[in-house]
Symmetry: C2
Subunit: 390 residues, 2 copies
């Protein structure tokens, strides 16, 4: 292995991956049963069924309907390899990259699409599967998880789900998309949910899925630019918008114990925090409404007191900005596995997408420094209580 990002088993220098997804069997069944995105579909001639989740992929899905095309590069979505669902494969991936502990989570779009009356049971089933995986003999001590909430369910079901996931031994938080109950994370109806999560010391892993309306990518994007624009820009921009809306709605004031882990190093929040602050203090409307003045919690305070950032930013430049914004004690390494596999390999060896992020930590914080070790795992152990097996 070119990049030795960790030494498995070293008690003081654990490497922890806080951004790593799994699709347990029940979730795969759910997606296979659907005819609109998100869905999993088999194509003639393609070895693996394909996962189609992004709005941009729906278009090419329509085009391939009834097609006998067998070249997989023309098929929409991505192949559902064993990396998506196999515990053994996840552990192999961890071993390959020197990762001691993974905090796994269901990938987008979670249960956002499930009918209200089914969401509660679906969440229970999925969370139970995650709990079982973490309790497998091969996984104990190496796997924890972020649970999934039934956001489309009635409020009492949703709040009950918080209680349920809190009781699951290896659960350390919940993964949440940006749609919330359908109106975004600045929806006042979500405040009781945030309060319940905070009261139960459940960290919220905020993760994008919806991106931006496709018109912003222009007429050439779908045919010529692959998935680069929605993934590289749409995802981090969506996260930034969601958290800025929460900030402006006062969620961080209303739920001071809320702890939010932002995917992709905050989207673009570290870079834009200064501009957000400037726009706030120069906004005549906010000033007149008394929202700007003494006692106001700044974006910088929120970044340093209530927000954690993963280190999935693929560059030294981004990593440094994330550290400058939130502090090296609030960043946590991640891989985004099973997404971004190396192209043209059997996916069993080293993944470049992983090593880029590990290299960024080394370059930004130094090789083997305390700060680098904290980001690679020490912070996650402390923040997510990974030394406790309960």
């Amino acid at each position: 292995m070119d990049v030795d990002i960790g030494t498995i088993g070293s008690p003081t220098h654990r490497v922890v991956d806080v951004h790593t997804h799994m699709y347990p069997p029940k979730y795969i069944e759910l997606l296979e049963s659907r005819s609109s995105i998100p869905l999993i579909r088999k194509f003639a001639g393609a070895k693996e069924p394909r996962l189609i989740i992004l709005p941009a992929e729906a278009e090419s899905l329509d085009k391939t309907a009834g097609s006998t095309e067998t070249s997989s590069s023309h098929l929409p979505g991505r192949p559902v390899t064993t990396h998506y669902s196999s515990l053994a494969q996840k552990l192999h991936f961890m071993d390959t990259h020197g990762i001691d502990i993974s905090v796994i989570s269901l990938a987008n779009p979670w249960l956002d699409f499930v009918a209200p009356e089914e969401a509660g049971e679906a969440a229970k089933a999925v969370n139970q599967e995650f709990a079982s995986m973490c309790a497998e003999p091969s996984a104990v001590g190496r796997l924890f998880f972020f649970a999934t909430l039934p956001l489309t369910a009635p409020p009492e079901t949703l709040l009950a789900a918080v209680g349920h996931v809190r009781s699951l031994r290896h659960c350390r938080g919940v993964i949440l998309g940006t749609s919330g109950l359908g109106k975004g994370l600045d929806d006042p109806a979500l405040v009781p949910v945030f309060r319940a999560l905070a009261a139960n010391r459940l960290t919220v892993f905020l993760h994008p899925h919806y991106g931006l309306p496709s018109e912003v990518w222009g007429p050439r994007a779908t045919e010529e630019y692959g998935h680069v624009l929605p993934l590289a820009l749409g995802f981090p921009m969506e996260t930034t918008i969601a958290v800025a809306r929460m900030y402006l709605a006062g969620v961080f004031d209303q739920v001071p114990d809320l702890r939010l882990l932002l995917a992709h190093s905050g989207g673009t929040l570290p870079f834009l925090a200064g501009r957000i602050e400037s726009c706030v203090v120069h906004d005549g409307h906010l000033v007149k409404e008394g929202k700007v003045g003494p006692g106001r919690r700044t974006v910088w305070q929120v970044l340093r007191e209530q927000i954690y950032l993963d280190a999935v930013v693929y560059s030294e430049v981004g990593l440094k900005a994330a550290v400058d914004a939130s502090g090296a004690d609030r960043l946590m390494f991640g891989t985004d596995h099973p997404f971004f596999p190396p192209l043209g390999s059997d996916e069993q060896g080293e993944w470049e997408s992983v090593t880029w992020n590990a290299e960024a930590v080394k370059k930004a914080l130094g090789d083997g420094t305390d700060a680098a070790r904290a980001v690679m795992g020490g912070n996650a152990v402390e923040i997510l209580r990974l030394h406790e097996d309960s």
Copy 2:
């Protein structure tokens, strides 16, 4: 003055503002004659007419139609003070902040809304007014400008306009929005325009205006969050998307001499460059099309060879990331005057929006260092040839 950002007249340590707008009389007349945004409108009881340019402001414009509301904080847009149009006021602002030279430009949305048959003459008139301002005795040597192109005009008019602005003594480039000819800056029809600009050593100042579709700000934004989301996030995200589309279309390869100055330190490009790179090399479609491989110009190369960034990012964190991405020799100080005036003052003293950016340079690069001086003015003098009075 609390923050001494420059000493006027010091020959080796010039302070240059490359991001500063003006509305010459002919442009104000044009906006006054309109009934849909962009427009300038007088309101009963309001001292100054108001400039309404953002899509988000159109809504509140409709609500105030026929209103006798006299509190200006309820009125849409912003007051057109003398800061928008008066040369004396611009020079006073420069003196107040220790700015030796300003490279002025028309503000958004420029002439994007002008009918094709009128655009050529409108551009000529506006550019001539800018040229005249720069030639005023009080301004000579202190003012240069970025010209405006008639983008809605027929191709031959547009290309002729490049020739015209090149002939104007104090013109050093053009300011450009992200819509281009209506299809974005990755439109192949723009390549001849970029070539003509590059051949004439005219820097393109890329500036946002259109933001993102308003639905992304959610149901509470218009009433509760002022203009923060469209300005703080929409503008920089628009810029990032535009330049990423140019990159993916190969514009930087096709026009190697193109020089692009990105507003607001590149929007979010420095922070997201790593993720863009990762998404490109992991995109099956791009790899199959041969767009990824040896010889490919990376985003980092474009940032370090073809892009300049202004230093309008309002934080040390952002400034450092911009420097890390493009180099301290490619950053240029700016103010965004006359936008973001201090609230509750007569606007004749020091502007906090300016000092935040000057402070960020000091904090990121050190007080009085060569790098800080370069960003505050030295780079602009060299890059935009401000030592040449022709």
